[in-house]
């Protein structure tokens, strides 16, 4: 593992007596599966960010909340760190195990407990897959809106932990906007309910605070999500542009026309070619950029909006505007975009996906900056972009078998994120900080802000046992590595002692 991300940077590892812990767990939780031998632990050494691997000390696979409760009480008493994991599809190493920790796998909590069409909610266990909720609601013409690209596999508990997004966020919001209630277990194993069956609840909005907290404040044991009526119809326009700037401006023009598309995606030439080679979606391969604009809702409105958006796109200088003529073509247009990552995977042995967000107006400058960095580091970058909400996914192409390329890709990725922060954006829009972007947190937040984050963590988990070392960097880490870039001749964190 790259030393930059080594958990030892954050301090000494806890000393855990594995044999004694295992014996107590086996005695107290006889019905629960516990994995403790090397070959059994191996499959759990990484999540969706497979470049980072750590073998956990123990893996537990509970099936009942009471088991999780007991487990947490034992871990708390013994001072053993606990990392929760859902389906393990996360892209930021948020479920990366700890050498001296328990990996708590929630995947067996996979029951849909209730779908209530009149109340428009579904109550599910945390291991239920995102798409399974919409499938269960489909007979009532309802669905669960957030649709991260991993929705076939990712679990709703993980969605809560990461505040997962998707391609429809601008119109339908993130996970945090689509939750009613989350049941959690605290680090001490007490049950607590955040939110309620109503639209709000008394006290502080802890549901908002916990959403996206990456398993650092509590363990999700049940989730109640809002369901929405399915849009009657969805149509997609594809527009080609001879420059990325024009495509970027067209996005602003659509919104200025008072239209909020269900989805609004942009791809650059490298991504267009890769996707077209792979999927044959009918993309114009000579275009510098394409926009995919999906309009959904009631048929009459969608029809009118398609005409309006078509006009806007032409005025914005599109060289070609195509309305998917039928559902099959609509699906094909989307298939190109949805398979952009594997498509890029075909033209490069490895790729590294970034997740920065920027104010949309900064797009031309940031793309120029990425292109310069790409030349500087000698690595190609393909850009796919949730254009509607400013979330970029530059894909850095590299070959891990070439000495030093992974490190170069990581360094280039770090620079891209810093560029996002510089123009007023964020290092992560929907993938989370996890272990991956822990060092870049030092460029997004100052010492006082990080100190406050640690205080919030301590309010819920004073002993720091829930997913330690993720999401919020220690000040030591920032001084040591994360912020060692010289900004304007001045080192960041001048107030900190250097180690």
């Amino acid at each position: 593992m790259n030393i930059l991300y080594d958990e030892r940077v954050d301090g000494e590892l806890p000393k855990v007596d594995k044999a004694a812990l295992l014996a107590e767990l086996q005695a107290q939780l006889p019905g629960m599966d516990i994995l403790h031998r090397g070959e059994d632990l191996k499959p759990y050494e990484c999540d969706g960010l497979s470049a980072y691997r750590t073998t956990p000390m123990l893996v537990v696979l509970p099936e009942r909340v009471e088991q999780v409760e007991t487990l947490l009480k034992i871990a708390h008493k013994r001072g053993v760190p606990v990392v929760a994991r859902g389906a393990g599809t996360g892209l930021s190493g948020g479920a990366l195990p700890l050498e001296q920790g328990i990996l708590l796998v929630m995947a067996r909590f996979n029951k849909i407990l209730e779908v209530d069409p009149a109340g428009r909610f579904a109550r599910v266990q945390p291991g239920v897959r995102n798409l399974a909720i919409s499938q269960a609601a489909a007979p009532y013409d309802l669905y669960y809106a957030p649709d991260p690209s991993s929705q076939i596999a990712c679990s709703i508990g993980g969605n809560v932990a990461e505040n997962a997004g998707g391609v429809h966020c601008l119109k339908y919001g993130l996970t945090v906007h689509n939750l009613l209630k989350v049941d959690i277990l605290t680090v001490e194993g007490e049950r607590m309910v955040l939110g309620s069956d109503a639209l709000d609840s008394p006290g502080f909005d802890l549901l908002a605070l916990f959403t996206g907290s990456e398993g650092m404040l509590g363990i999700v044991t049940e989730v109640t999500v809002k369901l929405l009526p399915k849009p009657q119809v969805a149509k997609v326009l594809l527009a080609a542009f001879d420059s990325v700037e024009k495509a970027g401006r067209a996005v602003g023009d659509i919104i200025a026309a008072g239209i909020i598309p269900g989805g609004l995606e942009m791809m650059d030439n490298l991504s267009i070619r890769a996707a077209e080679d792979f999927i044959r979606a009918g993309y114009p391969v000579d275009a510098e950029a394409i926009l995919l604009c999906e309009l959904d809702g009631v048929e009459a409105d969608v029809h009118d909006d398609c005409a309006r958006v078509g006009e806007v796109l032409k005025l914005a200088g599109a060289t070609e505007v195509r309305l998917a003529k039928d559902e099959a073509e609509r699906v094909k247009f989307w298939a190109g975009r949805k398979n952009a990552f594997p498509a890029v995977g075909r033209i490069s042995p490895d790729y590294y996906c970034m997740d920065g967000t920027i104010p949309r107006r900064e797009l031309p400058g940031v793309l120029k900056g990425i292109s310069d960095l790409s030349n500087e580091y000698g690595l190609r970058v393909a850009n796919v972009f949730h254009a509607g909400d400013g979330n970029m996914h530059p894909l850095i192409l590299f070959d891990a078998n070439t000495e030093g390329e992974l490190e170069r890709a990581e360094a280039l990725g770090g620079k891209i994120l810093e560029l996002c922060v510089k123009v007023g954006g964020s290092i992560t829009g929907e993938h989370g900080v996890g272990r991956e972007k822990i060092n870049q947190m030092c460029s997004q937040f100052n010492v006082d802000e990080l100190t406050l984050f640690h205080a919030v963590k301590a309010a819920f988990d004073p002993s720091g046992l829930l997913n330690p070392g993720k999401n919020i960097p220690t000040l030591h880490r920032c001084a040591e590595f994360g912020g060692m870039h010289v900004h304007g001749g001045q080192l960041p964190f001048p107030e900190l002692e250097r180690f």
Binding site: G119, C169, D200, P202, P231
Partner: protein
């Protein structure tokens, strides 16, 4: 006239003085919602000099605004660009500020369909109980770096820090808005609303005043006109929604204490002594009643809701009391963000 002035240094100095002398502060804007919550003993900290729109680019759908800015000024700026705050926050009096809107977290009639005040918060600047002026979140739609302290500020009644600036997501106004009044009994209206809620009917407000169902439909011409034809009824003056939001309908002049009931959306008619007015398609109900807090809360809690007293002094705890361990974590969170307990102590609960 719009005024723009950065008074954050002055606010920060006042907080640091209060920290040095261990003096509690009573944070105030226009005072339009001062009646809500428990009384706070403290030196007033007035945010109103810190005002003005910092950035607004309509095509980015984001506005950043200082906390002391009059809410009316924010609304006027959005109106000029044909945009809006979809959560329709109530003013509840003259001089309501943006800071008060966030601190109380109150939303208007569109809330069940659009989302609440907190749903539109993207970023914030906050003076903390450590005497620091910090920034959380940002001006982008998606941002999962660090804990979401910005959304936590919404509805925290100033108990966790002094909000100085907020970035909000805004949206274009709908192309067409029509309001209807349909005579039907309340139980039938609730059933109809549950039915429409499962269909793509463009409802953006639904209230029942005991006599008739009041609906607002918004969107494109095609969908709105089709829905109006289907539902029937008579045209309603759109000012009804403003009067409902600002609590100026005749219902609110009843002299008995006012309660806000927040309920699961498909809760049937609740038998409670007094008068009720239904908003949010049933998820928010206003109650005028002399019944004591415990009795109201027992009935409301039974169905999964909670009750807030909106009449100053009429209930010992205006907000529904919190059970353990939730209360303990509220205390611990308050202690983490405001260790000396100087920000609006006791405004929500005596313990925080």
């Amino acid at each position: 006239m719009t005024v723009s002035f950065d008074d954050s240094q002055q606010l920060l100095d006042q907080v640091n003085q209060a920290l040095a002398s261990n003096t509690p502060l009573r944070i105030q804007g226009g005072g339009s919602k001062a009646f809500l919550g428990r009384e706070v003993q403290g030196t007033p900290l007035d945010t109103r000099a810190h005002r003005g729109i910092v950035t607004y680019d309509p095509t980015e759908l984001v506005i950043s605004v200082r906390a002391g800015t009059p809410l009316a000024e924010l609304e006027a700026a959005l109106d000029e660009a044909n945009q809006m705050l979809p959560c329709e926050p109530p003013h509840l009096g003259e001089g309501a500020t943006v800071g008060g809107m966030i601190a109380t977290g109150l939303s208007g009639p569109r809330r069940p369909w659009s989302g609440s005040v907190r749903d539109f918060v993207l970023g914030s600047r906050v003076i903390t109980g450590h005497g620091k002026h910090l920034r959380f979140g940002g001006e982008v739609m998606k941002n999962v770096a660090g804990y979401d302290l910005s959304r936590l500020m919404a509805g925290s009644f100033g108990c966790l820090g002094v909000l100085t600036e907020v970035s909000l997501k805004v949206l274009p106004k709908p192309r067409l808005s029509r309001s209807l009044r349909v005579q039907m009994p309340v139980d039938r209206a609730l059933l109809k609303l549950a039915e429409w809620g499962q269909q793509p009917v463009p409802i953006t407000a639904a209230s029942h005043d005991g006599q008739a169902l009041h609906l607002r439909l918004e969107g494109g011409e095609g969908s709105v006109n089709a829905a109006c034809d289907r539902i029937g009824g008579e045209t309603l003056d759109a000012d009804y929604w403003n009067q409902l939001r600002e609590q100026r309908l005749g219902f609110f002049s009843d002299s008995r204490p006012l309660w806000r009931l927040s309920l699961p959306t498909d809760t049937p008619v609740l038998a409670l002594p007094g008068e009720q007015l239904i908003d949010w398609a049933g998820a928010q109900r206003w109650l005028k009643s002399d019944t004591d807090a415990q009795a109201i809360r027992a009935i409301v809690s039974e169905v999964g809701g909670h009750a807030t007293c909106f009449t100053a002094g009429a209930a010992a705890s205006p907000f529904q009391p919190l059970a353990e361990p939730l209360l303990r974590y509220h205390r611990q969170l308050k202690a983490a963000l405001d260790p000396q307990g100087i920000f609006n102590p006791g405004r929500m609960y005596s313990e925080v």
